[in-house]
């Protein structure tokens, strides 16, 4: 196993043509964590959204007024909670009757102005909206090397077009299947998105709710890539989106709910990092710190010659 995972640039500083205060290159591994050179340390992204009505209650309780203040929330992600990245989920586009793609672009601008962190953007999930939403988002982040998502087998052209036009990278998601992941990467390449602009999202089921599949599909994607499959040799992103709406969190006693939320995210996100994910996303602000600490510890582990 001598192959390497392609490096993907996320974020651009002034010298790189953007305005971020830092930028990253994810990937570069030639082994799984703990088994050799695992490449750059996984990044921890805190997810925020532009329409909190669709956000987990346990997070809203924690962030309070910030939920209605996108810029403040983004700034807090950097300054208080110390995230490596911000992931902006445009939940506004999920509302029935949404018809203001320009607002999505403005949300991206607002977050970029509020924080110096590189940005992952999760746009619309409706083919009827995609073209305009992704165009606006791409445009708003021109030069910033966003990680733009999400491309899926049935709807990847709009994201790809926006990424190509404005110089971003793309999140490519498939439902827990290594062959589908490979196919989508090939499709993206055919539209002109080069391999160093793709991040694989193999879909992460929440702990206890599909995670048993997601964990192994990540290991499989990674081992296949290291064994020489170039169409899978991209870094991976993991976001167990449903973590905070699972029964265990919802039905936890009041005094344990926040703790359960953090643990539920932590165990899955940390496991994803062990399985090779290069970016792990969480929603509860308190998960960020423990996760960063654990990942740093994992990366500094000393094995035997």
């Amino acid at each position: 196993m001598t192959e390497r995972i392609t490096e993907v640039a996320v974020g651009a500083t002034r010298t790189e043509g953007g305005t971020r205060t830092r930028s990253y290159r994810i990937g570069g591994a030639s082994a799984l964590p703990g088994m050799g050179d695992a490449g750059s340390r996984p990044l921890v992204a805190l997810e925020i959204c532009d329409d909190p009505a669709l956000w987990p209650a346990v997070v809203l309780e924690e962030v309070g007024d910030l939920a209605g203040d996108l810029a403040g929330w983004a700034r807090a992600a950097e300054e208080w909670w110390n995230a490596d990245l911000v992931r902006l989920v445009l939940t506004s586009t999920r509302r029935r009757g949404f018809d203001d793609p320009a607002a999505a672009g403005r949300a991206v601008e607002e977050v970029l102005a509020a924080t110096g962190l590189p940005l992952v953007v999760e746009g619309s999930a409706d083919p009827a909206l995609d073209t305009e939403v992704f165009r606006r988002c791409g445009e708003a982040g021109e030069g910033e090397r966003l990680l733009l998502g999400t491309a899926e087998a049935e709807r990847y052209r709009s994201v790809a077009a926006a990424a190509l036009a404005y110089g971003h990278a793309v999140v490519a998601q498939t439902p827990i299947d290594i062959n589908l992941a490979k196919q989508l990467n090939i499709l993206l390449r055919e539209t002109g998105v080069s391999h160093d602009r793709i991040v694989i999202d193999p879909y992460t089921g929440a702990l206890g709710y599909g995670f048993e599949y997601s964990y192994s599909v990540m290991e499989r994607v990674r081992t296949a890539a290291l064994a020489g499959d170039a169409d899978l040799a991209m870094p991976m992103i993991s976001a167990a989106q449903d973590s905070l709406t699972v029964k265990e969190v919802r039905e936890a006693p009041d005094e344990e709910r926040a703790g359960t939320a953090v643990e539920w995210e932590f165990y899955a996100a940390f496991a994803a990092a062990v399985a090779g994910a290069g970016i792990v996303c969480v929603r509860h602000p308190r998960t960020v710190g423990v996760l960063k600490e654990a990942v740093a510890d994992l990366w500094e582990g000393a094995g035997w010659p």
Partner: protein, 443 residues
Amino acid sequence: MAMKALEVYKLLPKTNCKECGFPTCLAFAMKLAAGGVEPERCPYLDEETKALLGGATRPPVRAVTVGVGARSFTVGEEIVMFRHEKTFYHRPGIMVCAADTSPVAEIRRTAEEVRDFVVHRVGQDLTLDGIALRCESGDPDRFAAAAMAVGECGDLPRLLIAADPAAHEAALRVCGQFLPLIHAATTENHAEMAALAKRYGCPLVVRAETQVKLADLAAQCTAAGAPAVLLDPAPRTMGDFVARASHLREHAVTRAAPDLGYPLYLDTVPLGTDAALAAGILRYAGVIAVPPLPHPSLLAALTLRQNIYTDPQKPIQVAPGIYPVNNPGRDAPVLLSVNFSLTYFTLLGYLEAAKVPCYLFVVDTAGLSVLTAVAGGKLDEEVVKKAIEATDLAGTVGHRTIVIPGFAAPLSGRIEEATGWTVRVGPRDAAEIGEFLETETEG
């Protein structure tokens, strides 16, 4: 080195007495050849045959059992690096620490809590595996007294942690019959520790900083008669553990170093608990010592262990069939669902909470969830039709209406045509099912 099933079979008694737990000698031979079991399971092999078979067929990570009785657990017998290559067989035992400097009543309470802790998830009971007593007093008598306190908790497996063999000796006199795991034999004390392990027949952890020393210690202790060994690679950080455990597993599964083919031991207490516990579950720990943990940590950790130690090829399933919920009568609605355990138990939880009498009609989708089964062609009108015919659904209820999950809505017309039953499309989210059924029965 490896032997084929037939070559193995030739060495077995061929009496098919079943005492090994397999129906025939041939079945046992096949499992042996695959490296999944120990030859010792057949009581009729002489030492020479056992040794011969052992070298050739022994699972690359040997089996070790901790404790006695119903709560005893076995670790090891693992054959792969990654669960997708086959599966992981024996989930790590999680043992909760108590210090011998704590009041006896507190030690007893910890042991009782560990014994009684259980979480029910998707039809399985998730439990903790034992109590770890740590000698912090340096006083053998105190350590023995602590071991005595745990005694009242029945056959809960024990782990004894002490640097001083004298402390172990004192504690083993009190609880040796429970075959505790003892920690640890080091380069300094291995002769005494191995002698204790031999005398009491209990499994022994060997601890060293390097791979060479670990292999050495394991070889010396087994040669001195220690019946079973675990390896503690003495990590200073969680990251060290992951790296060393991965290294050891690789040496074991490639059979590169037989003296490293033992389950691994991990003490999370000095390493930062949640991350180390998660790391141990993911990367090859056999026994994990943890401090008493808050409920959210336990819940998440046990769920992760359940996920990782589920065979990736076999989702946890329930038997297809008709399940009466809340004492239904002949008019009660019939709810169609799939035989994926997670789906069944989620649904059942909501139905019981809603207190609406109904029949849960579970069809065989090979353990796939509703959406996955629909997408993968495992739930369609033919499957439903066959299930209605195979069960006595028509005789159980006095009507001909079936409620299908919201996610199966696209199938409604075809199911009606194929079965002749009227189909109602229910909500997608099980949380809304109570409300749906109430308005249905009213209307």
